[in-house]
């Protein structure tokens, strides 16, 4: 286990912005693609 607490997990050793910025935008892209595909 790498993380002692939720805050530590979110902080990502000080790289939280970069790590969650990457995963967040990737998740958003996938969400948008699936959303627009279902609308077709």
């Amino acid at each position: 286990m790498n993380w002692g607490s939720l805050n530590e997990f979110l902080a990502m050793g000080g790289y939280g912005f970069y790590v969650w910025g990457s995963y967040g935008v990737a998740a958003l892209c996938i969400f948008l693609e699936v959303f627009f595909l279902n609308k077709k």
Binding site: F9, M12, G13, Y18, V19, C29, E33, L37
Partner: protein
């Protein structure tokens, strides 16, 4: 057996098959993604050089692999359509392009967010980064060109030529880190050498790469169904299928 498989080259036969396959690939994508994310965040240890910032590679590398691979698959379908005049091939190429563009964007975006803490810059005009950006433009150009030509036959033909010319960019991306002195690091995983990374890191990356494969297949099949309905809208079977779908909904 072969003739059985070729039967699915007809949009009418492929449409229900794609519909049956989509749920399977979607579920596989979800399960593999969850397993991969678990390994990426909880099983894989902290990198001793890059700290936690390295965890971006678990999304970056699968997205970059998919961006190149999907382009080659797209160009293959486009080429088959151009050579054999099969209707479904051009539709498959169109169905793959948006997912490929999405993965290319994710690869560039996550790369930028990895580059800032690691190199000190979001973007540099390095051979690897520039050729990947060209790939994004190729995808967008392919989509724009195809949608600009209303006649499906001409649209498929023009798109196929663009896709086939652009395929030369894929080996340039892949080998750019060897051919030029790039800031981007060389491949950590290749077919010819043992991977230069911890086994858990590799496992997380491969799980997410497999998830990206399954996701791409599911979205491409879903999109090709929409394209089939659109293009064959005057066919009798499409009218009947649409009536059935509306009755079920």
């Amino acid at each position: 057996m072969t003739s059985d498989l070729f039967r699915f080259a007809a949009p009418q036969a492929f449409f229900p098959l794609a519909g049956k396959l989509i749920p399977w690939f979607s579920v596989l994508a979800g399960v593999l993604a969850l397993a991969g994310l678990y390994v990426a965040f909880f099983a894989a240890p902290t990198d001793h050089q890059q700290g936690e910032a390295y965890r971006i590679i678990f999304i970056h590398v699968p997205a970059a692999w998919m961006s190149m691979f999907l382009y080659v698959v797209m160009a293959c379908w486009a080429g088959i359509g151009l050579a054999l005049n099969t209707r479904l091939s051009g539709m498959m190429a169109s169905a793959i392009a948006p997912t490929g563009a999405m993965f290319t964007f994710v690869a560039l975006w996550s790369g930028a967010l990895w580059g800032r803490p690691t190199w000190g810059a979001y973007w540099v005009w390095d051979a690897r980064l520039t050729s990947e950006l060209v790939l994004l433009f190729l995808y967008l150009g392919f989509i724009a060109l195809k949608s600009a030509i209303p006649d499906p036959v001409r649209s498929d033909r023009a798109g196929a030529i663009l896709a086939l010319v652009g395929v030369v960019n894929v080996p340039i991306i892949y080998f750019s880190v060897q051919w030029w002195n790039t800031l981007h690091q060389g491949a950590s995983v290749s077919l010819t050498r043992a991977p230069s990374m911890a086994a858990t890191m590799l496992a997380g990356m491969l799980l997410l790469a497999l998830a990206a494969w399954m996701y791409s297949i599911a979205t491409a099949l879903c999109r090709v169904r929409a394209i089939i309905l659109e293009r064959e809208r005057d066919a009798e079977w499409v009218r009947m299928t649409k009536d059935q779908m509306q009755a079920a909904a």
